[in-house]
């Protein structure tokens, strides 16, 4: 065996919600028997974004807020890779908001996990886009990633989990990764992952979460219905968790994920043969067409 980069010692505060995500992600990867070299975790910048250091697959540390762009570039260049992007709520919903929205539109088969702790952990506890009113002087209404995810007419898998419930989280991440590996499109999972140092919401969240799947009228293929269920749950002061959108198996090619639309042969840029010899004839035709 070649010796190559191995996971490093963890740097999170003891008790940080992110440990839950790490454990669930490891387990899901193991359960799905994904070989380490075939999987890539692209981390954001923030405490959460360090996760790529702690797991035995390929790791990429992207720029703050740009992890989705790097992850999508990776996937399109080599569609056989299992690509996970994972970072914080500041990374994903503040500086990364544009890419957050466009990832749904793009619909490449990658998994994006946001570890939402309603604060900027690594920069010491400022308000983030999901912070509630009053937190560190916050005066902006909190952003709800699930409602917005439901508003984008794409074939994405959408779910919310809670670090205090690792079993469900493992199940959801496994489903999401399988969804990706079946080339069914983008998967977005927001995990409620308390920051025990600056915003310890473990107790509160444990009390407030409501499994949307158990509510009457739940239908994970109907965005408006789930949108309404979530809105009502929130109005009642609770936090909906569970699978929010599970798109049905596609029936036509227009709902194919990005990589299949672009690369019907599933080879892709990274594995294309770029040797001049093998392309000479085609290049000659190409050059002849120019000018």
């Amino acid at each position: 065996m070649v010796q190559s980069a191995k996971p490093t010692a963890n740097t999170w505060c003891p008790g940080c919600g992110d440990f839950g995500v790490l454990a669930a992600a490891k387990k899901a990867i193991l359960d799905l028997k994904i070989p380490p070299h075939e999987a890539v975790l692209v981390g954001g910048i923030g405490c959460s974004g360090g996760i790529h250091n702690f797991i035995d697959i390929n790791g990429v540390h992207a720029l703050h807020g740009r992890l989705l762009a790097q992850a999508i570039g990776l996937k399109l260049a080599n569609p056989q890779l299992t690509v996970i992007a994972a970072g914080g709520d500041g990374d994903g919903y503040a500086i990364g908001m544009g890419h957050f929205m466009h990832a749904f539109k793009k619909n490449a088969s990658i998994l994006y996990i946001v570890m939402n702790n309603e604060t900027y952990g690594l920069t010491k506890g400022q308000a983030s886009p999901t912070s509630r009113l009053g937190f560190e002087g916050n005066i902006e209404v909190p952003f709800d990633a699930i409602l917005t995810a439901l508003s984008i007419p794409s074939g994405a898998f959408v779910a919310r989990t809670f670090s205090g419930d690792p079993k469900t989280m493992t199940a959801v991440l496994s489903e999401a990764l399988q969804f990706n590996r079946d080339h069914r499109g983008y998967a977005f999972v927001e995990d409620l992952s308390p920051c025990v140092t600056y915003n310890d919401t473990f107790k509160e969240w444990r009390e407030k979460i409501v499994n949307i799947e158990k509510l009457p009228g739940y239908d994970p293929t109907d965005r408006s219905a789930v949108f309404r269920l979530c809105s009502e749950t929130m109005r009642a002061g609770k936090i909906p968790v569970g699978v929010m959108h599970r798109p049905p198996k596609p029936t036509d090619e227009s709902s194919n994920p990005l990589e299949l639309k672009l690369l019907p042969d599933n080879i892709g840029p990274a594995r294309a043969d770029i040797g001049l010899e093998h392309n000479l004839a085609a290049y000659r035709t190409l050059l002849a067409s120019a000018g």
């Binding site: 790097q70 399109l76 990274a270 001049l276 120019a290």
Partner: protein
């Protein structure tokens, strides 16, 4: 020889009396076509260009458009020449004008003898030597659509310049065959309308004849197209970009080309997404590029630095335009070099390469891809609006001159033979080779944080110091492999010129001009702008009394960069600058040199 202005046929009615003269042979002709956006000026230029090429002439076309879609003054220029010229001719011989504004704008660009051909439908030209026909009225009357006025005007020019009838028609056929039978038919009729009225004016018939050239084997292309082609044959397979003038065509060409080679082109939601998608793609071993212009480049600053420190080889084509901010989106400038040479917070290695012609764009893009991958750093291909969008005739691209080399990429087989694989191993001579993400048997960590050899975050000061030296060392270690300049002119000349990109065209023409006056010069066309190539610039500067650094910006960015790196030459450097959005004409460059030479001889 040409008609003095006072004798010129200003209007068909005036022309009957004009005497016949022997036609003047044109071996270097420049035609401006001007009007409002939508008048079809570009079409006329295109038709003329096609004809000129069939005549074996070198062709160069350029355009001045506004950053708006319809309306507003727009003009375009086509030059045909027996010599290869990649520059706008200093003064035009003929202006085809669709309104008075076209004349007013072009006036300073017209030769003293120039003729203005114009559409007299709605105005009478205020210009001494003018010839008007009511093209729009004629086209409207005979074809039902005044918009054919442009092809009618082309018809008039075919008479003025004594085009071969059959070839003039052939050009129309080639151009319009894909637009359907009706369009073709009407354009052919418009050609005849224009020919017909012009033939009635004796002094207009064969006013000029066109020299014959021997440049029949050339192709007409732009820097943007050549870059896209170079990218494909150089093994480029991933492109992400965001529309922006004058870079958009690179993306548009690649959208057509790349899917045939398992390649991918994505329009990102912005430039931040584009550069980061490109970085992501490159980590898998795909050769990847983005293209942009000033505003997008500024937005990519953080991403380019990230590629530098994470050691991911990527290519960024920067199609310079007038800045800063939104600036003048459709205009020409070379004012991003200083930014690029010093780009970003912190320090990281990068190469800045610049092709001097559309032809060079093709080959240098291939080199850039090889270098980016081998040296694991961002390579910037520095273009400019004129180079990107002006079309010129160049020799057909030669695949035997193309090489795809991948010395830094480890295959699965190579990896299997290693004991340890460190993505950021210290070396003393160049980058550690890398196994693209996905290579069986190994996993990697790729990061923009300072890291140790494994890619793990490190704040150890000794490691930091070594890593900086490892990365920055590339700027030294790679020197021998970086593209060399092209040299032109007389070896023994004591007056030097240095420039890059599209300025090469006007510089070479200026040198010819000066040569006829007995001023011998030589020109170093820089192709590696960063790291500053001391080993080529040094001997060149040593060999001259002084050197003019010719560039399109205010501060003399290339000159400053040379001073920064080679301050000992400072007293030899003089700048020739232009920063009004327009390209140099040869005399703009010749004049200050002439003055300096005569001044120094006094």
């Amino acid at each position: 020889m040409s008609i003095p202005a006072s004798q010129a046929p200003a209007h068909p009615a005036d022309t009957e009396s004009a005497q016949r003269r022997p036609p003047k042979e044109l071996a270097d002709v420049s035609v401006i076509v001007g009007g409002q956006g939508g008048d079809g000026t570009l079409t006329v230029v295109d038709l003329l260009g096609r004809y000129f090429r069939k005549r074996g002439l070198y062709v160069y076309t350029s355009r001045n458009t506004l950053s708006r879609i319809r309306g507003g003054h727009a003009d375009a220029n086509v030059r045909a020449c027996r010599d290869p010229r990649a520059a706008i001719k200093a003064k035009a011989d003929l202006l085809l004008a669709f309104d008075q504004e076209a004349i007013d704008v072009a006036r300073p660009e017209l030769d003293a003898d120039a003729l203005v051909l114009y559409d007299s439908t709605s105005f009478k030209a205020d210009f001494p030597n003018a010839l008007g026909f009511p093209f729009a009225t004629l086209a409207g009357g005979q074809l039902g659509q005044p918009i054919y006025k442009n092809t009618a005007a082309y018809g008039a020019i075919t008479v003025l310049m004594g085009f071969d009838d059959a070839v003039a028609r052939q050009v129309i056929e080639e151009r319009f065959k894909r637009r359907g039978a009706e369009a073709l038919d009407k354009n052919l009729k418009a050609l005849e309308i224009g020919r017909h009225v012009t033939l009635e004016v004796p002094s207009a018939v064969n006013r000029w004849t066109l020299a014959e050239g021997d440049a029949h084997e050339l192709i007409l292309t732009t820097g943007n197209q050549a870059t896209a082609l170079g990218f494909v044959v150089g093994g480029g397979r991933f492109f992400a970009g965001y529309p922006i003038t004058p870079a958009t065509e690179i993306m548009e060409y690649l959208m057509r080309y790349l899917p045939n080679y398992h390649g991918v082109v994505r329009q990102g939601e912005d430039e931040l997404a584009s550069i980061n998608m490109v970085i992501g793609a490159a980590t898998t071993g795909a050769r990847a590029m983005t293209s942009t212009s000033g505003p997008g480049l500024s937005l990519m600053t953080e991403g380019i630095g990230h590629a530098g420190t994470a050691e991911v080889g990527v290519l960024i084509a920067d199609c310079q335009r007038v800045g800063p901010s939104t600036g003048q989106p459709t205009r020409h400038e070379q004012s991003d070099l200083a930014h690029l040479a010093h780009l970003g917070h912190g320090e990281f290695p990068k190469f800045i390469l610049s092709p001097g012609s559309a032809e060079d764009c093709f080959y240098l893009t291939v080199d850039a891809l090889n270098l980016a991958e081998k040296w694991r750093l961002p390579v910037i291909l520095l273009l400019d609006q004129a180079l990107c969008q002006n079309a010129s005739t160049v020799p057909a691209f030669d695949l035997t001159r193309v090489k795809v080399e991948r010395p830094s990429v480890l295959s699965a087989e190579q990896v299997a033979k290693l004991d340890t694989y460190k993505q950021y191993a210290f070396t003393t001579h160049g980058p550690a080779p890398f196994a693209p993400l996905g290579t069986p048997g190994v996993t990697s960590q790729i990061t923009g944080n300072e890291h140790d050899e494994w890619g793990h975050v490190s704040v150890n000061p000794v490691n930091r110091h070594k890593m900086m030296e490892q990365r920055m060392g590339k700027l030294l270690w790679a020197r021998d492999e970086l593209p060399r300049p092209r040299y032109f002119g007389q070896k023994e000349a004591r007056v030097g010129l240095v420039g890059y990109g599209s300025t090469s065209g006007p510089i070479l023409e200026a040198m010819d001009l000066l040569d006829t006056e007995g001023i011998v010069t030589k020109y170093l066309q820089a192709r590696t702008l960063f790291p500053v190539q001391q080993e080529t610039l040094g001997p060149f500067l040593d060999s001259v009394d002084y050197a003019f650094i010719v560039e399109h910006n205010y501060t003399g960015q290339l000159a400053r960069l040379i001073r920064e790196e080679m301050p000992q030459y400072h007293s030899k450097l003089r700048s020739i600058l232009k920063y009004d959005g327009y390209s140099f004409r040869a005399p703009d460059i010749a004049a200050p040199i002439r003055e300096a030479v005569h001044g120094s001889k006094r």
